[in-house]
Amino acid sequence: MGIEANVPANSLLLSSRAKRGICSSPSSREAADSSSLALLGMTRIFFKRGTQLILLTLVVLTLLGAGDESARVNDLGHRMMCVCGCNQILLECNHVGCAYSERMRSELIAAVDRGDNDDLTLQGFVQKYGTTVMAAPTKTGFNRVAWIMPYLVLVLGLAMVTLIVRAWRSRPLVLPAGAVAAVHGAELEHFRDQARKDTEI
């Protein structure tokens, strides 16, 4: 409801500002009747509108984030671990009488109710419970290596496979001793045709 109420107001604000911007440009055109100035004016208008649109988007996104508190609790609660030693995600810990998960969930809800942003909330938990409370490595310092390595291996692997394929394609055929002599030309094409039929059905 909050979002719905705010969007029209912001739209009005945008349109009135845009109108002012458009009104100012004809006067500029009258003062200097050159195409370059007109272009400059157009650029300014686009820049202003662009800025306004970005600001509006940011406002809407902020309101969206602040509006759905249970979704935030759910998201943040799945980014942290219960620290009782059960190795479970905070919101999934179901240990009867767990000394930690209940308290941690209450603290999480309180932080979201206070309006703390995600970073502040998570930082608070790290300070209180240590770095192991985060369910995945942060993207800072050495922890970045955790995230980079799998992709690096994938890229290196792709490069390696490409090199292997190139090397194989240019490699001369090695035939075992006593093997049948290689065939060429039309005969080879015939065998290839046959093999294709054999394997493709």
């Binding site: 995600i89 999934e92 009867v96 192991t132 310092g141 394929v165 394609r169 054999d198 394997t199």
Partner: protein, 672 residues
Amino acid sequence: MSQIGSFALLLALALCAYSFLAGLLALVIKGPGAGRLGETARRAGIASFAIVFLAAVVLVVAAFQNDFSIAYIFHHSNRDLPAPYKFATLWSGQEGSLLFWALLLSAYGLVLRLRYKTDVRLFAYASVIIAAVQVFFLLLLNFAANPFGVMQGSLPADGNGLNPLLQYPEMVIHPPMLYLGYVGFTVPFAFALAALIMRYPGEKWIQITRRWTMVTWGFLTCGVFLGAHWAYSVLGWGGYWGWDPVENASLMPWLTGTAFLHSVMMQEKRGMLKTWNMWLIFSTFMLSIFGTFLTRSGVVSSVHAFAQSSIGDWFVAFLAIIFATCLFFYVKNRSHLRTEHKLESLISRESSFLFNNLLLLVACFTVLWGTLFPVLSEWVQGTKVTVGPPFFNRVNVPVALLLLLLTAVGPLLAWRRTSVESLKRNFLWPAIGALLTGVLLVALGMKPWEDVSYFYSLMTIMLSVLVALTVISEFVRGGRVIGRHTGQNLFASMVQLAHRNTRRYGGYIVHFGVIVIMIGFAGSVFNQDKEQEMGFGDKMTIGPYTLVCQSYTQDDNPNYGSEWAVMNVFKGGKQIATLNPERRFYKASQQTSTMVANRSTPQEDLYVVYEGQNLDTGKPIIKVHLNPLVMWIWIGVWIIIAGTVVALIPNAAPVRVPAPARMRAEPVGAGD
């Protein structure tokens, strides 16, 4: 009892040591005595099975007789433990599970040594390698983790009992399946190393080990998914896979084993990837041992790891020896592994296998990396970090999607080269089907632009449809060709088609099972849960279901006391089920455990957990999860098992069809 068991273990060690040394000597020396010596080594290996079996029987009998003079029985059993779980005591603890490992290894060794006539020399080498692995496990059992250690001081009246989490029917079969998988990879490893050492000519050793590898892979698949089902049914957190180090340990050899099953076809058909396959099977075996090391060394924390102990050092030493041995013989005989053919085209079955292997190995590396990163982080920056589900899901899901795409495209590619026209012709309709599925899902309300998980879910379903349609089209096209020649209906023709090339079509059935599982995984994005204190008559609504608390009941038996709720479930105003979520208190171990009540349908699971009581209000706390499509995962596993069994059936003899024209008698179902 303990003396018989300890003596059996010592005797088994002596027999395996003899089997190893005498077998090795027989392979090295020349002369008439070598054959006789080799035969004694083989027989010693066979005898070791009987002796290890005796040791295992002694431990199980001790559990049934409540012989608490044996420390292992005291720690893992009690008088009121039901019989099936007393049997499961054998693999419930560190020492017993190692004995079980040794038993399975000796059983695999027994089969191998009995079938030695297939290829006497190759089997002799393989037997020696298996004997070496047996020696390691028996050394461990005799000197580091003896299951027959006796209790000090006065005899206790009762045991500590079995961990409540293990008192579940699946735990009686999950560990044996998993171990059959882990241990089974010793056999292809032994054959591969044997072939490398003796510079075995040709690819016959691969044909010999193919069944071993497939059976082992099938067991490991069952073991992994039984573990997932156990976690889902017992742990009560609503999920089946938590990326726990022990789960990861079982996944890694499965991934490399899967890669091997694919790439080995390139060696069989085209004489390519020989070095790669050799190291793939070496890695699979080493990862099996590494998984055991992870579980038992305490190097990473895990919910279901065994107690921390010093046997981790033994495993590190063993892994180092295996690696050094493999590397030595590889360097010595690598010229034997030269590729016989060259790659003719990028659009070919060969290159699809290469990329398939790359993706499987990247997935394996990610799992290994994520599992070990906490240790690395502590070592480098002095602080331990957690690497949990958010990391593994984010990195592995895109890799899995690429694998699904390859699963769809791969079977459509021919060996050597495929024309673009042929690819277009075969791929067009499955691709249109997948796109239509995507459009339909979006029209039905799926919003992939709202969250990346929705996007992944949509992609998973679309690619699964793509794979399903390519598999179906392969069956239908092949079936039609046979039908034209034999006059059979389409279904009978497809059965005959599969029987003519069981490996290929069994593989397609396995692929079909995989996509059914993937669709099950995709459903997890839409999971819901709700927690509420529920007194008599209280209601809770989740999705289309309304749960009404009917009553609470308590019960008691010698093993545990329990309390459970009677919950009536309504849908559309009509009662459709009564569920009984339960919480147990095990007397011997003084631990609680949940028994989830689950109403499973193909559409969704209504998963109800009795979490405990609020001490302030006295009201029980009920947590309900609504998990879509979970049943698909278990159905998919059954399909994979069926596909594996089909792939193990020997091919039917090709039917000679009279050819009306010169080129109409092409063999159907040939090739992989």
